[in-house]
Symmetry: D2
């Protein structure tokens, strides 16, 4: 049997945990594939890996003595995973835990530094050594489990935006910066991406961290013939925006203001409570409406940390628009979604589509995966329906 | 200059009034075309009539001494038309009022009969004479104003559903029923549609009344080489449904329940407060979600008469859905739209597209207009985005 | 130690189950008293029973082999009780299950008859024998467990409203009706109430069923020196209404329309899907707004059965109101509450306050408990804040 | 006839304009008193001035050539005043306009300074001269119109919070600071308040600006035997909070988080878009929930400037709370209110109650008016219902 590795950066977070639990449960027939896009009939002709082919591993900052126990604790607090399921998967979950390696936080931003004061040891290690260690972890993972393909998915905490620099412009310039240990020019996510590509893995950036998708990194993917896709999984409020905004355009209704308020309480929310980190997310979420409508709209994206909500993200959006005879009207929506539950199947989808691209030798940016991302690299289309049409067309061409 | 007639059945209602005010105001440069689909750049190659070509007339049950004064009263109560605009258009509005002819209520249902007890005189007039009178009105309209084309748009109160009957199956069978005065087999809307087609007009059914779109009527349109389109303008809550439901399908999220509550207070709401009439509307609104998702969903469509809201329709929808690992989540939306303001520009769009079809000699059901209707005749696709794509493709082919 | 009996009619329903689980858990220190009114400091001087004094029993239609297993199933489906808690309370829960006796469905309405076709055997048993059997169950409960006081709480499915009849006017007339087996003049809830009072128990009607609170029943309570209270626990949407409506009155804002839509999916919702049964609930919920505002308001109370929601009731209310200069404005609210979780602590509160009344020898209608009910018997005040003030004043007088 | 002066600081703002239009319209019988609290029957025994006794004047920064024309423009843009009404009141409105005097912006904060760069001339004028000029305006107003009583109401833009200083502690210390021209210790609102009290007027602070309610100012009111009341009119979202929060307390439901998002687009919103000014408002709005519940709650008060909404404030609140068995539930509400329409009648109420206090010689802080304010000076009770009870009790005592 083919064996496919999925390596998760941020291996112990809520999304990662839900991804692994879900994939294991599907493989065992304990849950359905509801929420997975790649299992829709339209994609049945693609060489997608089966769920029971997957082997999971990853990087994280915390060690774990029992990943199954950690997951039970998440189930208790978050109330979105059935404890029975965890009991049934206990051995596999602990095996996953044993495959988690110590990651890095290089230049990850103040919120991570605050949370991880103790673990900032790597800041004194040269970048090239950090990179070598990450590569080593990935090579070992591939070898030990005899993996045919490996996809690395970045699910780490959102980093602050990285300012543009000439050192990002090519794979060579980027490598020079690393060799000269110019720490301020990269972030941890850059090193994870480079390590993935240098060890022959596909790479998916599920976060808004732009440091993972520098021009030089994309060039590296192209040069190595590897697929790469990002950025920022489109799971909830932005998904609704991207589905609704075209309606206003198609009806020639003029959107005057689109206010979006996001409330969430998990670790993601805690990191995003820091204005530096939040900038990445707001920027990613905020381009969608004007991008679809084609004219500047008064928009606002609020992200507030509300601990009691835990992972049960609640978003409220107000759309104020003008119709015939200048009359003003309103649409509001409230989204009550669980972030991990929404994100996890998309992580599996992106991993599966990436493996298909590896198998079909389709290197570089996977533009047909734009529908999965808030800020799809290499794609300017934000209309969710057109993005999904593009995915269907890809599947039809490939079939 | 070309002159184009738009003949409105229900000529004094809120939608009709807003349509006429808006068209006149656009022609004079007093308002923008916001809310009109047909003015989008994508349709610029079609032979659409200009707004200043339009001459409006119509049928209604009430006489008017001054349509401009009636409109001022609507503006006062409904607060969605600027009184200044009415003053500027006073002469043209009164001219429109003078072109309104007395209509019919044959078999229109209990709510209309109750409102119009005094006007039920026509029930003793044979159907063929009623039809002849309608035809005569339309011919006079065309001749008096030297109109190149005429479109008849049905904006009358929603009738109860008409049960299927073999007499509906062909133009001939339908004509026989009329000649034999079988009143129970047709409704007023049937006679309006037939009169339109027999006098060379295009016909648009903006209401859910199925009696206007019987198989025999569509056959008549085909035989006469005339365009016909319906049914039930998709203006508000159902539009949002049709834009949002595909999102759940594309994400493989399983919709468990979709509850929709509509509150409105205008005459439309009053008629729909009658369960017989409401059946037509609920049926029309209710097919969309399951139609898009492809599986049976627990749905509910409520329509409640709330007089204080007048034309400011408020709808609340709850979507309960299941995602990964069987977890249940929720989306709610509240739509605060003004029905007349939303409907009027679509009436103008449908008239303009119908005129283009007359000019391009495209008879029969105008399937590319499905995006305008809740229950598009001849089309099973309910995904709003795909419907709009179909309209774009039509325009591209035609250009 | 004093021992206090709580006898629940509808002993296996969601509210009953949650009540018993909660009381046992509080007694064991496994959960807090959040949601219980009677534990607020203001009531500390009242002779309220402690939670560990309680012994639970009840009537139901279904037998159970293991109440703990039933509760686990409820926890699995409803997701509002922690399975861990059930495991910790297993023995006590099963003991409660063993104290459940077979109840009656006499004249309970079509929805119950449909659900319980098989159990309709009692319809052939004379009313006086049914009553005697119920009394016997209550006497045994008291004796076997050496109970100092017993409170009977009606949590059975809502019955249709019972039309007024002279036979309801006094305890004597009511007894005559029972002796003469005039089944159409009473319902099961009447017999439960009478049995309770005839065996010296306090009685609480937590349902809207008016048959449980006939004038003759209240007279019986007064004659026996027993407390009685009802009707229809005010748990969610109506609570919010009763808290908000006074605001409009105090600000002299004129409420034009108050629309309320309730969606729920448990057995309660299923019974209320029947229009006969729903009438009781709608009547109970609908009096609040006009009762508080003091003028007739256009109101609507919708109750829809949405199975996927299970016990997670969702309500949407729209308040349309007029302010200064005739300007119209709107308030909407969405209530996402779990019915059993909200009701259970109030059941315990009512039982505790009833026991205090037994101990303090305060017979008849407990008017100070109005804040717990949608339709407080004997009280016309619907302003929740004034109702709560009345409870505080009672406690202050009693202290 | 008695003549009563109402002098408005911020005389040309939306609230002031609506107040004057409304009072004139009521006096002429052109509109009802809906929205006015003081006209409720409970207050009929108080010596309140009639609406036709009022003479309006005020301070503002902008001159006006025709206040009636300005009001028509407000009606056109804001759509909450009927233009017909303005036509009917044209002469009186222009007369009001002619009574508006040039005000001051001393130390009013960056947002006002930005808007009023040109008008900052007074910054070079000594405080005591500024004060003398304001007093002179008020004395002239009283004399010219032979006014029996005058109330000054502060409706100016919200100033940033003024830090505590010993100079605020007494009327004497405050006067010293003014005499020594210590500009940083006071703001414009302080001077307005002092001028009002030194010329024998009652003073009402309808804004959150704390500089208007310094201890020394309150002492001055007491010394002069004049009523004073504030701060920050409770018109919309906070009113709902204050009405709803007690419900959670009375049901022992633990509020975990209360998030409130306010969107508005008028000049008030523009000023509050500045973080310095917003601090005053947020502080005022944010104390209510924890104040009522008696324990610290995770709260958030957002205020965002959304120009398209103009005066039609939209607020969204989410209340996350815990009930029995630790289960978490949610209430959300959306408030669609027009700020000026809600505030104007309360301004009239406060003026009327202040005049009654003048007539009844009740100097100092008017604690019974707490229900009108978000941050009632001298009162810690935030429960709206208890605040209203206090007002009723005052009226009962006074009657």
């Amino acid at each position: 049997m083919t064996r496919t590795g999925i390596w998760i950066v941020g291996a112990r977070g809520g999304v990662a945990t839900t991804t692994v639990v879900g994939a294991l449960a599907i493989a065992r027939g304990l849950t359905s594939t509801t929420g997975c896009v790649s299992t829709l009939p339209a994609f049945s002709k693609l060489p997608l890996p089966a769920f029971d082919e997957f082997v999971f591993g990853g990087h994280d900052l915390d060690a774990t003595t029992s990943f199954a126990d950690d997951t039970l604790e998440l189930a208790r607090v978050g109330r979105f995973i059935d404890p029975q399921l965890i009991h049934a998967l206990r051995a596999d979950l602990d095996a996953y835990g044993s495959r988690i390696r110590r990651g890095i936080t290089t230049n990850c931003g103040p919120a991570v530094t605050r949370q991880r004061a103790e673990s900032a040891g790597e800041s004194t290690i040269p970048l090239r050594e950090q990179l070598a260690a990450l590569e080593n972890d990935l090579r070992s993972f591939r070898t030990e489990h005899a993996l045919d393909e490996v996809v690395v998915v970045n699910l780490a905490s959102t980093e602050p935006p990285l300012d543009a620099d000439p050192a990002h412009a090519s794979a060579q310039a980027l490598d020079d910066a690393i060799q000269h240990d110019r720490t301020s020019l990269v972030r941890a996510s850059s090193l994870y991406a480079i390590a993935a590509l240098r060890t022959g893995c596909a790479f998916v950036n599920f976060t808004p961290s732009n440091a993972a998708m520098l021009r030089g990194i994309i060039e590296l993917a192209e040069a190595r013939g590897l697929p790469i896709a990002g950025s920022d999984g489109k799971t909830g409020e932005t998904l609704v925006k991207a589905a609704l905004a075209p309606m206003f355009a198609h009806r020639n209704l003029r959107v005057l203001s689109w206010q979006g308020y996001n409330m969430l309480g998990d670790r993601d929310g805690e990191v995003l409570a820091d204005p530096e980190h939040r900038r990445s997310k707001v920027h990613s979420k905020d381009g969608v409406v004007s991008g679809i409508l084609g004219y500047p709209v008064h928009t606002h994206v609020g992200i507030d940390f509300v601990p009691s909500l835990h992972d049960h993200k609640t978003a409220f959006d107000l759309v104020h628009f003008e119709g015939f005879l200048g009359h003003r009207m309103m649409l509001t929506f409230t989204w009550l979604g669980c972030d991990s539950i929404l994100a996890a199947p998309l992580v599996l989808d992106l991993a599966r589509f990436s493996v298909a691209a590896l198998r079909r030798r389709e290197p570089g940016i996977q533009k047909h995966l734009a529908c999965f991302f808030k800020s799809p690299n290499g794609v300017t289309e934000h209309d969710f329906h057109k993005q999904f049409e593009a995915l269907l067309e890809y599947a039809a061409r490939a079939g």
